[in-house]
């Protein structure tokens, strides 16, 4: 009786390219995923002409062959996450003598090209290489259930090929550990640039999006140009409701306000993660200036716990990037 393979035998790799044309053949980091994979993409249409009988025209390919990974979600591995961050932030400034502090900056400027890799889930000989990708966004989320900080990753690239590559030893949750917010400090403040430690965050999601559009040409069989869009931010969190600050601030312009106002109070958020294995390693995301607006909660006859849904509108801060990641890990060289 034939055997059908399980679908979890999967590792996805990534490596920075030195330039657009030089495609890597060696993985720099390989990692397991919660979900998602790079996929070859193409569009099909039909030749819209009349016919002797009332039947649809023949299909043709649009010439927009490229590749995308729109739903990759990784555990937050200490070394691997630095590579992902450097594909969205164009500058990594490293300092220290070990562990090493990687400070990422320059959102909105051009970023390095990435190659991604994976072996066909069916296993064996078919190895996919995804050439010349540009990061289209990252997200960071956690909730009360614990486990690794979840890192969403989106990337759009030019050309998928079937080509063999050299594997890296994949990252492992047991031997490499990961970053988690369990046991770390979460901070926010509705009306101050200095966030305070808070204990009522049930979950959060921070997404940094930079749309990348594959641009086909009249004669190209596959996409040769990528259109880079502008960076945007989405932040949300669910709080176990314990005060009236944000809902008053949203409508009345101040956390103690009581009449309608056009003023937008701005606060700040700091998300800290600890590492499960190495105490000196950490990951921090700072949003220096953000309006935290709460939607007033609805009453519930089922007597569910009162929670507050908060949306963050991120502002340009006085200095630095809108969202500022700092990664402390064992990598001694800048990414």
């Amino acid at each position: 009786m034939p055997i059908v393979s399980p679908s979890n035998n999967y590792i996805v790799g990534i490596a920075k390219q030195t330039n657009e044309a030089t495609v890597n053949t060696v993985e720099e980091y390989g990692a397991p995923v919660f979900s998602g994979t790079p996929l070859p993409m193409e569009g099909m249409d039909r030749v819209a002409v009349t016919d002797a009988s009332a039947i649809d025209g023949d299909p043709f390919k649009l010439g927009d062959q490229h590749w995308e990974a729109s739903n990759l979600v990784f555990p937050s591995f200490g070394l691997h996450m630095g590579r992902l961050l450097f594909s969205l932030y164009p500058t990594d400034t490293i300092s220290g003598a070990g562990p090493y502090t990687h400070t990422y900056s320059g959102l909105g400027l051009g970023t390095t090209w990435q190659t991604m890799f994976h072996t066909d889930i069916l296993g064996g000989a078919v190895e996919w290489t995804y050439e010349a990708g540009q990061c289209a966004g990252m997200s960071f989320s956690a909730d009360e259930n614990g486990g690794p900080l979840r890192v969403g990753y989106q990337i759009v690239g030019k050309r998928p090929t079937v080509a063999s590559y050299t594997n890296a030893t994949p990252q492992s949750t047991s031997t490499d550990g990961y970053f988690t917010v369990k046991g770390a400090v979460l901070k926010y403040e509705a009306d101050s640039a200095t966030p305070a430690t808070e204990l009522n965050v049930q979950s959060f999601n921070l997404a940094i999006t930079r749309p990348v559009t594959p641009l086909a040409t009249a004669d190209g069989l596959s996409v040769a140009y990528l259109g880079i869009g502008k960076v945007s931010f989405d932040f949300s969190m669910t709080l176990l409701k314990d005060d009236h600050e944000m809902v008053r601030g949203a409508f009345f312009g101040a956390v103690g306000g009581s009449t309608p106002s056009n003023t937008i109070p701005t606060g700040s958020v700091e998300i800290n993660c600890v590492h499960t294995i190495t105490g000196g390693h950490s990951f921090k995301l700072t949003i220096p200036k953000v309006a935290l607006f709460e939607t007033p909660p609805e009453p519930d006859p089922a007597a569910s716990p009162l929670t507050a849904a908060v949306t963050g509108y991120v502002f340009k801060p006085a200095a630095g990037d809108h969202v500022q990641p700092i990664l402390i890990n064992a990598r001694s060289t800048a990414y």
Partner: protein
């Protein structure tokens, strides 16, 4: 080419050039770095203009 300084001599910088070229790592182990090409200046300019960065322009070398 312009020169940049950094008091923290453990600082090293990687970056992306205007066409996505990988630049660096650029080491500040002597406290000072004179760029070799416009792509390195592209990366360090951004840092020198960032008030939060440890890297700054070497104003003593300016004409």
């Amino acid at each position: 080419m312009p020169t940049y300084i950094c008091k923290d001599k453990t600082v090293s910088v990687s970056g992306s050039g205007p066409n996505g070229e990988a630049i660096g790592p650029i080491s500040f182990k002597t406290g000072s770095y004179t760029t070799k090409d416009v792509n390195e200046a592209w990366v360090l300019d951004h840092l020198a203009l960032d008030a939060m960065s440890k890297v700054s322009f070497d104003e003593s070398k300016e004409a």
